[in-house]
Amino acid sequence: MTTSTSTGLITYREAMRTALAEALRDDERVFLMGEDIGRYGGTFAVTLGLIEEFGPDRVRDTPLAESGFVGAGIGAALGGMRPVVEVMTVNFALLALDQIINTAATLLHMSGGQFNVPVVIRMTTGAGRQLAAQHSHSFEGWFAHVPGMRVLAPATVEDARWMLRPAIDDPDPVIIVEHGTLYGAKGDPGSGPVDIDHAAVRRPGSDITLITYGGTLPMTLEAAEALAADGIDAEVIDLRTLRPLDEATFLESVARTHRAVVVDEGWRSGSLAAEISARITEGCFYDLDAPVGRVCSAEVPMPYAAHMETAARPSVDQVVAAAREAVAGGG
């Protein structure tokens, strides 16, 4: 499946596909299910070619029935399978919210610990591809709100390659959100494995902590480089796992740098960024030398026109400006 280049770099898409193929090969309980993942090859070509190797039972095309097939995935998980369900976008996943939240996330608790639900639900998220207001939003924060699930946001090729296996091994529901702009990104997949419990410091620094995840990691790293030119040494933290949040990592960092900016493509109101900001306030108020900054999407449904879409999303400039303000606020 994988077309490794001579440099050893592969795309995020290839990394994900390699991981899926490996899971199908290694574990006969694993099967894939979703809209157009089989003969069509996957809306974003992540599953391209898998039906040829594993057949239509294990690379199972579904009708357009998100609640139905996500629920079927949950039921199959209860029945001993290890389904990896693909929902085309996080917007479409709203049609399956009932199954994800009222069933998958609650069944273990409602049943007094009797029925755990080892299902993996993958979905794309985010803007940047001019797909407008019904394919471009970032609702991962909503999932991260719910106890009983794990929410993963692989931001690097390495995480795309290696997060799937521990997600499948997790006895409880795991949501994997894949930012649509990342599929073509190239990187070194590494040799694995990776954990799905901890945030990662993607760039160490001492003056300010930039906290982000998923699709906004590349721009945040870019912003950190721009800040370095100003003499501001920014630490960049990739949350990786949005629930449960590894707050120890970012609290430790902020306690050291005394300043933080959270970059989150979700809307600012009631956002994951809000949660992180609140935890920083709770966890290291007396280490803060400036208010926690946030760079989020503008509070509009995502527009189609490219310049408007760009304006609506977090940008390098906004991250740099927010970081400068925090540092200035802190002397």
């Binding site: 001492s206 003056d207 003499g231 501001i232 040494d233 005394h258 108020f285 007396y286 280490d287 803060l288 030398d289 400036a290 540092v327 200035a328 606020g329 802190g330 002397g331």
Partner: protein, 475 residues
């Protein structure tokens, strides 16, 4: 009265569907009850003969109240009721959660023995808004923290005279009001650090948004290098504690000084020079000058020495500046750090800004003001600026000479010991002269011994020609 819903606590008996003497079967409707939602029929779960109706129509009763007595004819025992087991209409009560261990209510009088209490931001805000001194409020929160309820209790005019008369204890964390009583805007970290360093927030000029005091401002004021990216040359030495401050305050001053000095000795290759200077001419000149001045405006020898240092630096500007990023940055003016010994111990070094623009009298005025403010704990923000060079004078401690440790990023510290009489040879004759030992500790990265020696030599010359120090600005 049956419970007909999870949210039903009581109901009104609207209508009896049965009368005394009626025979009822299990499941029969016996009454209609008005709940908050609607009228609902009530069935009996027991068969028998109604012998008594206990609740009149139109009466509201709590859930669990017996409504009627049904004789099931089974036994002569007490008659069955609508609820044969009229147990209290409550769920088995879960064991109460253990009360959080009550913190002993803090006594106002023992405040000084307790660690500083941290109050929440809202409490601090409200206290300021209402003009309440938090140190006078008895807190019932965790660790004796004052809660909003405590504040409300204080604010209530009745029967709380204690609020204004309780013993005052230094509560460290709440930001101090400025002179006009408004709140000092400051970051949480700045407040915490100010407590550690014993810096009075009200005396610090904030550089953050709308003048907010930041960590850099506090550390600059305290003489510790900021950890922030903006390279700022701090003024040396921490601010004094208020007179009444507890010992832990001076301990934190001590700790801050210690860190700074350790860093200096670690990083700065010091070299040391000294010379003993005959002050005969200078002091005679000073005595003549002072004869015409009111006592309160007399010029002290210390001011003359400072003035001499400033003028001498004009010839050796490389001793006046800072070592930053592996290079010397000479300062374009002399911001003169002045070591001040505090009553009760401790040494600080507030700053006379642009001392090279001051004549001798102005230097004296500046020194007098600085020492007074330092010893009363009322240093101004401008007193805590960044020094370009420091003079330390241990003359009043009686020591002969002092070799200072440079406060980074400065590159020199000039020391003076006590002015004392010594046998002194002048033109081949032994005489007694008042002399002072001047020392120079300098950063070898910035200057070498040759430059240092020339500085001390110039200093010596100037003190033999006090007219050059008397007025005007140095060349």
């Amino acid at each position: 009265m049956p419970s007909l819903g999870a949210d039903m606590d009581s109901g009104t008996l609207l209508e009896w569907k049965v009368a005394v003497g009626d025979t009822v079967a299990k499941g029969d409707i016996v009454a209609v009850v008005d709940t908050e939602k609607s009228d609902i029929e009530v069935e009996t779960f027991h068969a028998g003969v109604i012998t008594e109706l206990l609740v009149e129509e139109g009466t509201e009763v709590e859930v669990g109240t017996p409504l009627a007595v049904i004789d099931d004819g089974a036994a002569p025992a007490p008659p069955a009721e609508t609820h044969p087991e009229p147990e209290p209409a409550v769920e088995p009560t879960p064991e109460p959660e253990p009360e959080p261990a009550a913190e002993p209510a803090p006594q106002a009088g023992d405040a000084a023995e307790r660690p500083p209490v941290v109050h929440s931001p809202i409490v601090r805000h409200l206290a300021e808004e209402r003009g309440i001194d938090l140190s006078t409020v008895q807190g019932t929160g965790p660790g004796g923290a004052v809660t909003r309820r405590d504040l409300d209790a204080v604010a209530a005019p009745a029967d709380r005279p204690a609020a204004s008369t309780a013993a005052s204890a230094p509560t460290t964390t709440p930001p101090r009001p400025t002179e006009d009583g408004s709140r000092v805007r400051s970051s949480p970290l700045a407040r915490r650090r100010a407590d550690e360093l014993g810096v009075d927030l009200g005396s610090v000029t904030g550089s953050g948004p709308d003048g907010a005091v930041t960590i850099a401002d506090v550390e600059a004021a305290a003489g510790e290098l900021p950890t922030t990216p903006a390279p700022a040359s701090p003024a040396p030495a921490p601010t004094p504690p208020p007179e009444e401050a507890a010992t832990d305050r001076s301990a934190t001053v001590r700790a801050a000084t210690g860190r700074l000095m350790a860093r200096s000795k670690r990083e700065i290759p010091h070299y040391y020079l000294s010379t003993t200077i005959d002050l005969h001419d200078a002091l005679e000149w000073l005595e003549r000058t002072n004869r015409d001045r009111p006592v309160t405006e007399r010029i002290l020898p210390a001011a003359l020495l400072l003035r001499a240092v400033v003028v001498a630096l004009g010839d050796q500007p490389r001793l006046n500046g800072s070592w930053v990023d592996d290079e010397l940055r000479t300062a374009d003016r002399v911001d003169l750090g002045v070591g001040v010994a505090l009553r009760g111990g401790g040494l600080i070094a507030p700053v006379i800004p642009a001392a090279d623009t001051l004549g001798l009298v102005e230097t004296m005025d500046a020194l007098r003001g600085l020492v007074g403010r330092a010893r009363s704990g009322r240093l101004k923000g401008s007193d805590l600026g960044e020094a370009s060079v420091t003079v330390t004078n241990l003359g009043d401690q009686g020591v002969e000479s002092v070799y200072g440790v440079i406060a980074p990023p400065q590159v020199a510290v000039v020391g003076f010991g006590a002015i004392g009489e010594r046998p002194w040879a002048v033109e081949g004759m032994l005489t007694v002269r008042r002399v002072v030992t001047a020392t120079l500790s300098a950063d070898h990265r910035a200057t070498d011994g040759h430059e240092g020696a020339r500085f001390l030599s110039t200093l010596d010359q100037l003190l033999h020609e006090p007219d050059r120090l008397s007025e005007g600005t140095p060349s």
